[in-house]
């Protein structure tokens, strides 16, 4: 604990730590907690958390429930102007123009969220927003309107660390959700079961805990939920609502949609679904059933307050177990944001980095289907692994290019310039467009990498440690969740800083958290 002495912990927190009398989590523990609950930590963040005991450290990660964005989203997504969807009977040209515009806005929106994740002071709030995006799934592929996707993101962010019951109600009435799962088509006498099925199967109970009959009855209860044309505001259309009696999960009444959601919230399986999913996100790929059930019961008793579940999970022995270090695969967004944050570089334009994550299989605002990204090991296949490795390789290639630039090469264009003409990844375009698009993205990324002022030499020099080799050990301890397994394991002492950082980040362990 050499770093304890050199770090001035905030007196209050130190006192709290003493009061709990738990042992300090140390550098390893701090790194683990911060990587699992945020994106890649910096050496300074690790040093700040290392002296704390588990409970204090966890409380501190959960403490700033500041979930307002620190960056400003594009005004066109936040204003009150109509969403501009083409009216019924619009010409194809009008429809195409609308879609083109939404594609353009969607790209801006992806860049904004990426920028927010890079800049945020409460990484857990962003991680949880992303978690709920992958739970209450909607995709711009179907919703089309960037503004409605943005509003859904704002809703998920508002409740990200709030209460799950309120989140379930809000997400169910969200405009993007009503479009994505056809809630707007669900009316008395002509039910659409899409939302009713998914809310039970994926959002709450899980498969096997409801019947086809429950789905049919619940669909009737959700009938009449709609959107005001033009604004996309939620409206309850009484004439389209089926007011008859329904029986859902053994309960009978003249339920509306909210009543059905409340019935779902009363079931223990709902809390268990959420806790097991949080376990896979934060703890390990294999939830321990008994622990899940116990934490789920506490979660439900605490009025579904999300920080309660998180606190129990993050304070569990399973979370801190050495056996569970480095056992989860980073999502592409975690990889990209984590690498940039850990290396303490910030791009001027985050859009190319959103597209880089898309190229690794995680296109924000466009999960592949209602189940969301599969995650875990499925993040890694031959193509995505090479894209991931290429990405980290490109960051650490920068120092060379910068040298070249200093030698008189032309100044780089802003990265986003290369993206101005694209048909971004929203689907439906011909293959040749896709190829041209890939090329444009590759060029934009290349410029973005050049624009990052990353210097491996400076980076390694900034690490704690009295000797060059101690500094390198610190750098690996910050960048890798467990000891390197491959290229990072035996880097010659005389390798330059650039080679050292490159080999460290190309180690397979860098893919893990």
């Amino acid at each position: 604990m050499t770093r304890l002495s050199s770090t001035l912990a905030i007196p209050l927190l130190a006192a709290a730590a003493l009061a709990h009398a738990g042992p300090p989590i140390g550098d390893d523990g701090a790194r683990h907690l911060l990587a699992r609950t945020g994106f890649g930590p910096t050496a300074a963040e690790v040093a700040r958390f290392a002296p704390l005991d588990r409970e204090t450290a966890v409380a501190r990660v959960l403490a700033p429930p500041r979930s307002l964005p620190v960056t400003t989203p594009p005004a066109v997504l936040t204003d009150d102007a109509p969403i501009g969807a083409p009216p019924e009977g619009a010409t194809n040209e009008e429809r195409r123009a609308y879609i083109r515009e939404q594609v353009r806005l969607g790209l801006e929106m992806r860049g904004w969220w990426m920028r927010e994740m890079l800049a945020t002071e409460s990484p857990l709030a962003e991680r949880m927003t992303l978690f709920w995006h992958n739970h209450f799934v909607s995709s711009q592929q179907k919703v089309r309107s960037a503004k409605l996707m943005y509003r859904q993101n704002a809703t998920l962010r508002r409740y990200a660390l709030g209460d799950f019951g309120a989140l379930l109600h809000a997400a169910s009435k969200d405009a993007a959700m009503l479009l994505y799962l056809d809630g707007v088509r669900n009316r008395r006498g002509a039910p659409n079961e899409n939302f009713a099925r998914e809310v039970m199967e994926l959002f709450t109970l899980g498969e096997g805990h409801y019947t086809e009959g429950d789905v049919k009855e619940a669909a009737r209860a959700f009938s009449g939920w709609g959107l005001e044309r033009g604004t996309g505001t939620f409206v309850f259309r009484r004439p389209l609502h089926d007011t008859g009696e329904k029986t859902v999960l053994g309960r009978t009444g003249r339920f509306d949609g909210d009543a059905v959601l409340d019935i779902l919230l009363e079931r223990p399986e709902t809390a268990e679904t959420i806790v097991a999913k949080l376990w896979r996100e934060f703890v390990s790929p294999d939830p321990v059933e008994a622990d899940v059930r116990r934490i789920a019961a506490d979660f439900r008793r605490a009025g579904y307050r999300i920080p309660v579940a998180l606190s129990k999970l993050l304070n569990s022995d399973a979370f801190w177990s050495q056996d569970n270090r480095g056992v989860l695969v980073k999502s592409p967004v975690e990889l990209v944001v984590g690498a940039l944050r850990s290396l303490e570089v910030a791009p001027d334009d985050a859009t190319p980095f959103a597209l880089a994550a898309a190229g690794m299989g995680q296109n924000l605002f466009s999960p592949p289907n209602v189940k969301g990204w599969r995650g875990g090991d499925a993040w890694i296949d031959s193509s995505t692994l090479l894209a991931r490795k290429q990405f980290v390789e490109s960051i650490s290639r920068y120092e060379e290019s910068r040298t070249m630039r200093a030698m008189g090469a032309a100044p780089a264009l802003p990265a986003s310039r290369a993206l101005l003409a694209p048909q971004p990844p929203i689907g439906g375009e011909a293959d040749e467009d896709a190829r041209a698009r890939q090329l444009r993205i590759a060029r934009a990324l290349d410029r973005a990498f050049r624009d990052l002022a990353f210097s491996a030499t400076r980076y390694v020099a900034s690490m704690p440690g009295d000797t060059p080799s101690a500094k390198r050990r610190s750098a690996q301890a910050v960048l890798l969740p467990i000891a390197p397994a491959g290229s990072g394991a035996a880097i010659p002492a005389d390798a330059d800083a650039l080679t050292f950082v490159r080999l460290t980040m190309l180690d397979p362990v860098f893919q893990l958290k």
Partner: protein, 390 residues
Amino acid sequence: MSTRRRFLQASAAALAFGALGREASVAFAAAPDGSPYRNLLVLVELKGGNDGLNTLVPIDDPGYARLRPKLAIGRDSAVRLTDRAALHPSLAPLVPLWERRQLAILQGVGYPDPNLSHFRSIEIWETASRSDQVLADGWLARAFGKRPVPASFAADGVVIGGNDLGPLAGGGTRAIALANPEQFLRRAKLAAPTGERRNAALAHILKTEGDIVQAAAHLDGNYAFATTFPTSPFGNAVKTAARVVANESGVAVVHLSLGSFDTHANQAPTQTRLLGDLAQGLVALEAALREIGRWDRTLVVTYAEFGRRPKENQSGGTDHGTASVHFALGGRVAGGLYGATPSLDRVGDGNLAHAIDFRQVYATVLDGWWAGDSRAVLGARYETLPILKA
């Protein structure tokens, strides 16, 4: 059938169609390990959902003209195959294959209770699930899980021109996504499969690194074909496919895709172009695989999430439909029409019922082409189609 009889048949075919005598001998010399996966499957995904009615046209059906006032293919331009059916004019390059009886046309391929969402329906096709069932792994991933492809192969499957592994996704499949072979080979240098497999995730990463290294070592892609490939993107993909197949070490599946066929508006020019790309690409593939003696050990099958609505819409296009026409071709395909000609008289605004379940096509691949056990992979028995010559 004995190898010898097959050899004679192949030789006869080679002589009859003017291919080099080299074909037959190389084809069978290339199967020293005797793996059924030496029989190559080439899947061609018609992304977005191709309009079957304008692909194999029921040219004399009065219902056709009624449903397609603007989009109907004219009798003068359609390429007549039988007294009732004609091909879209862009598919004319396939006629020699048809006449050689190596082109099977499967009519009305679909499934019960069809889903009209691109995403959901392609998932149903790729995982071979029921309409109301969600399966995690692709049907080929399951097949290779039950009966692995020999480790000596460069890969289980190669997906050309996209990141989506589709039917190869999941399981322990060694699937290589080859958006761009040069880029793959360049990037592959970043992969290194060495390291201690300390946990399952790390083991998975190291396995994938190993798959990359193995594939990169065997996919040099330098075979110089005499065949001329079309310059279209699909032609390029076909060329890459042929180069992959030319490698001695083998792959069980090559996946190609072409699109987008999602022609909601102004369908005619798009479909004309895409079907032209398809036909020219397939003809080039045949020529290239004959050149390296692999045509008799190749089965090409097209698929898509769905077909399109029989009744054209107000925008000169067609909306999402259900059953559609697909092709199977190869040196050992028994050419002809299969399935049932769609009956258009009562279709109205609705969609077509299927005549062939797509899982019958898969069962034909699994049982017939790979001499395997389709039931174990598909979870039920599906009647195979008699589209393969013994």
